[in-house]
Structure formats: structure tokens, C-alpha cells
Amino acid sequence: MAFYSTNEFKGGLKIMLDGDPYTIVENEFVKPGKGQAFNRVRVRNLKTGRTVEKTFKSGDTVEAADVHDTEMQYLYNDGEEWHFMHQETFEQMTANAPAVGEAAKWIKDNDICKVTLWNGAPLSVEPPNFVVLEITETDPGLKGDTSGGGGKPATLETGAVVRVPLFVQTGELIKVDTRTGEYVSRAKDA
């Protein structure tokens, strides 16, 4: 089992706390003029996404979390789980709903995702920053109603709903920024 000393703490380091994997968001070294030094850290739980503050005695050690990021291709959803494949090893893995989280709204077959593995199993899935998706339903619009920022809701093939400009129609492909959930442009094809 690997351990990190507080001296090795820095943003991005993956550690185990109370049985869960965490990533260090911010590490601050604090020490009175004389006496005990502390590392005050903000850590994010990689399972729940919640950020908390923790204090360690400087010099203490913490178990390392076996967490790696890898790029994998999304294959399909079998109704319960999402199947991914490593592009070089062709190794396949499945991720459950908590791991896929918000990414489920954006990904479709063949998309390359960043899959974070904990002890070799998917812990979280990050969709590509930009995805191209087909609009399956939106109001025909063009009624000249520009209230609400001049847009209208559109349902995409993955089930996600985004605001699109009035001129965009059902059946068209659009590019969406998955980090903000916002429409970027119309797209010619996927």
C-alpha cells in the first residue's frame, strides 16, 4: 500500500480518506511562530463530488488512492450500465449510473471520454468538451418571440435539453459545450 506524507501534498494528488478516494484541490501549510505545523487541505470526494476541508498534522502520512485517468471509447448502454473500451488494449469495462453521472446526458456511441479508474474500475466519466447531437424535438418557433434570451428549448437524441436559437429546427445537428451545457453552433454532420 502506498502512502503520501503531507510534505508531498499538492493539487491533484489522489488520497484515501475514510475509505473513499479524494483529490486534493488546495493545500495550505500553516504553522504558528513556534510549534505544531498543519496542512489545511480542501479535498473533493471523487465518488460524490463533494468538497470538504481537512486538517492534518504536518508530517503525517495518508494512504494513496489508486486513481488514474484514461481515455476510453463509449460503446453502448445495455439499459443498466454503460460499456466502454480502451482503444489500444480493446479491454472493455462497464460503468454504473453514479459513475457516469451527468455525462449520460451527452455521450453517444463512439465518443471518446475521460474515464477515471479507482482500483481499476470506473469511478467517474467525463464527456468530450464538445459533442454533436441531433435535435429530436423543438418547437417550430420563428414566431418572433424573443423572450427568455431569444432561444427555445430543444430535446436532443440523448435526452438532454438545451436552449437553442429560434432558427434551429428538429432533425438538425448541433454542437454543444458539455462543460456549460450550452449550444455552440449548428453542425454539418457528426
Binding site: K31, Q36, E53, G59, P122
Partner: protein, 344 residues
């Protein structure tokens, strides 16, 4: 179904975003403006002491002996010479050598020098930093606090900067309703939890550790707002190298200066009793042994100087990099250093 097998070795490691800054970046991390501000600050400090009749001295960076304080980690090197290699320690402060000068009859002295502390790195910490340390024979810590305040006003160019003094015990009583002289470890632990530190229950600390936690996490940030706050008269267990004043609440005659929540200086009405000093060194070494820390040689020359009849005096060490951070409105120590340790 997870089929992780042994594929991990093939998986792509995403580069740590910070590593792109670890290239061969040769430029200083401080702006030229702040490099000039340091030169200006050093000039003002020297002018202040010249006017005050305090002599500038130099003492060795390297020493055969090292500080025993378990909370300080000395860097160690070795020297080749007749009789073989010998270990030498980089000083964590010039305190012992300067007191030997005072004991030798130097009168008031000051020094501006680099000191080294291992395993200290952060927004306000750098393992190599610049101390301004000075000694005033015949003065007590109260009188020295006046001079520290005058020096800070002169260096910052703020002649009207106010200063206040608050006793360590009063600060805890006022802010936390706790008597640091008598509060149980359990009540200190509860105070930390009450102050919103939900994970405080996990920490294994001794009494002074809990007091340090409350001070650094809950109290310090409020000190020195809009001026200078001198925190003084510490619990005897935290007297370090200060004399302890007897009384119903015996207090270490020690002070620290805070400006805008930043700890800047530590001063003592110096302990001059060689036997008591040796006892404290030995107690430190016992703690070091319990903690599995190195047990460096005790500075016998310093103890001999005390035993020779060290004059009553007070001394203080002030972190010049932090004072420069305040003068130059920097929020990270790297902004006032030319080349931080990661690319020194």
C-alpha cells in the same frame, strides 16, 4: 461487468497541470519592482539600526550543533577536513551565535541573514528565508516590542500605524471562552469542532498542539487588522527560549507580532539561566526521541556562554520576506523571492 485485469499499465496518465511550470524557467518569480522593494527594505532596516546605535554582525550559517525544538527541522550537510568528515547543520536562526556575542559583551547587535528550515513550504513559508534578528541587552520584552513597532513603521513608511498588545490567555478567553492554562484536551477538541472544524476529532494532538491548531486556524486571521498586534505572555510550555515569569498564571515572556493575520516576528525576554536552558534542551530531545525525529548535538558553546554570565536581554527575529510581502502587497512568498526552491 468489470474486466480491469492487468490493463492499468497501458492506461494513459494525464500530465499534472503544474508540471508544465517545472521546465527550465530561468526568470525570477518576483517582479523587478519587488526585487527593488527588497533592496529598499534592507536599506531602511540598516538605516534604522544605524540611527539606533545597534551594530550589524555576521555569524556562521553552519554550526556543529542544531536547534532542539521538535517543531523545527534543521538541514544537514557535512564538511571534509582534517580528522575526517563532520556533520554541520544550517542554522534555523542565528540565535545561539548572537547570544554568544551578547555574552561576550557586544552590546546591542543585529543581523540580516539567510536561515533554513526543512519541510516548511507554502504560501508564507519557504525552506530558505531571510531573518532580521536583534538583541537588546538590559531590555525586557515590553520595551523591545516598542522598538519592533517603530522599526515596522519606519520600514513600511507608515508613521501612524497603530499597535496593540494582547496576552495569549486573554485572546483565548475573549474569543473562545477558554483558559489555555487549564482547559482540558477534550474541551480544546470541542472548541475546534465548535469552530466548524468537523474533522478535528480525528487529530491526535497534545495540549500545545490543540492550542496551536486553534491559534492558527481560528484566531490568527483576526490579529493585526489595520495595524500591529503583539500577542504576548505565552503558556510556560510554549516559552521556548524565553524566561518564565512566576505568578498565579506563570507566563513565558515571549511575544509574536501579527500584521493582517500574518505572523511576522517572535521575540523573547531571554532565558539566561544555563541550567534551565540545558533542561529545556534535554526535554526537547526526549520529545524528539518519542517522535522518531533526529536528535542533533546540543549547542554546548551557547550553554557555556549563558553560564559565563549572560546579561539580561531581549531579542527578536522578524521574517523580512513576510514584511516585504506586506509592503509590496504580495499574497504568496514566491512573489518576493528571486528564485524559489523548486527552481533555485
Amino acid at each position: 461487468m468489470t474486466t480491469a485485469s492487468n490493463g492499468v499499465g497501458h492506461l494513459t496518465e494525464f500530465p499534472d497541470p503544474s508540471s508544465e511550470f517545472e521546465g527550465a524557467d530561468w526568470r525570477p518569480s518576483a517582479s523587478l519592482e519587488r526585487i527593488r522593494a527588497r533592496a529598499d527594505l534592507l536599506g531602511r532596516a540598516r538605516a534604522f539600526f544605524a540611527a539606533a546605535g545597534v551594530m550589524e554582525v555576521e555569524t556562521p550559517i553552519l554550526s556543529r550543533a542544531a536547534v532542539t525544538d521538535p517543531a523545527l527541522a534543521s538541514l544537514r550537510t557535512s564538511i571534509e577536513g582534517p580528522g575526517g568528515d563532520r556533520a554541520l547543520y544550517l542554522n534555523t536562526s542565528p540565535e545561539f551565535a548572537m547570544k554568544r556575542l551578547v555574552a561576550a559583551g557586544s552590546g546591542p547587535i543585529y543581523q540580516i541573514c539567510k536561515v533554513f528550515r526543512d519541510a516548511e513550504r507554502g504560501r508564507r513559508h519557504h525552506p530558505e528565508f531571510t531573518l532580521l534578528e536583534w538583541y537588546r541587552p538590559g531590555w525586557d520584552h515590553q520595551r523591545l516590542m516598542n522598538e519592533v513597532a517603530d522599526l515596522v513603521r519606519a520600514i513600511l513608511g507608515r508613521p501612524d500605524m497603530p499597535d496593540e498588545r494582547i496576552r495569549y490567555r486573554d485572546l483565548f478567553m475573549r474569543q473562545l471562552d477558554l483558559d489555555p492554562w487549564s482547559a482540558s484536551i477534550e474541551s480544546l477538541r470541542c472548541a475546534a469542532a465548535d469552530a466548524g472544524m468537523v474533522d478535528a476529532g480525528h487529530l491526535e494532538l497534545d495540549r500545545d498542539g490543540w492550542l496551536d491548531l486553534l491559534l492558527t486556524h481560528r484566531l490568527e486571521s483576526g490579529l493585526g487588522r489595520g495595524g500591529m498586534t503583539f500577542l504576548h505572555d505565552y503558556p510556560p510550555s510554549q516559552a521556548a527560549l524565553a524566561r518564565v515569569r512566576p505568578g498565579p498564571f506563570p507566563a513565558g515572556e515571549r511575544f509574536e507580532l501579527y500584521i493582517e493575520g500574518i505572523e511576522l516576528a517572535n521575540g523573547f525576554h531571554e532565558l539566561t539561566d544555563a541550567d534551565e536552558q540545558r533542561r529545556r534542551f534535554m526535554d526537547d530531545l526526549v520529545v524528539r526521541r518519542d517522535l522518531g525525529l533526529p536528535e542533533p548535538p546540543v549547542d554546548d558553546a551557547f550553554l557555556a556562554a549563558l553560564a559565563s554570565g549572560m546579561p539580561d536581554c531581549s531579542g527578536v527575529a522578524l521574517g523580512l520576506d513576510r514584511l516585504l510581502m506586506i509592503a509590496a502587497e504580495a499574497d504568496h512568498i514566491d512573489q518576493v523571492l528571486t528564485f524559489p526552491v523548486e527552481r533555485a
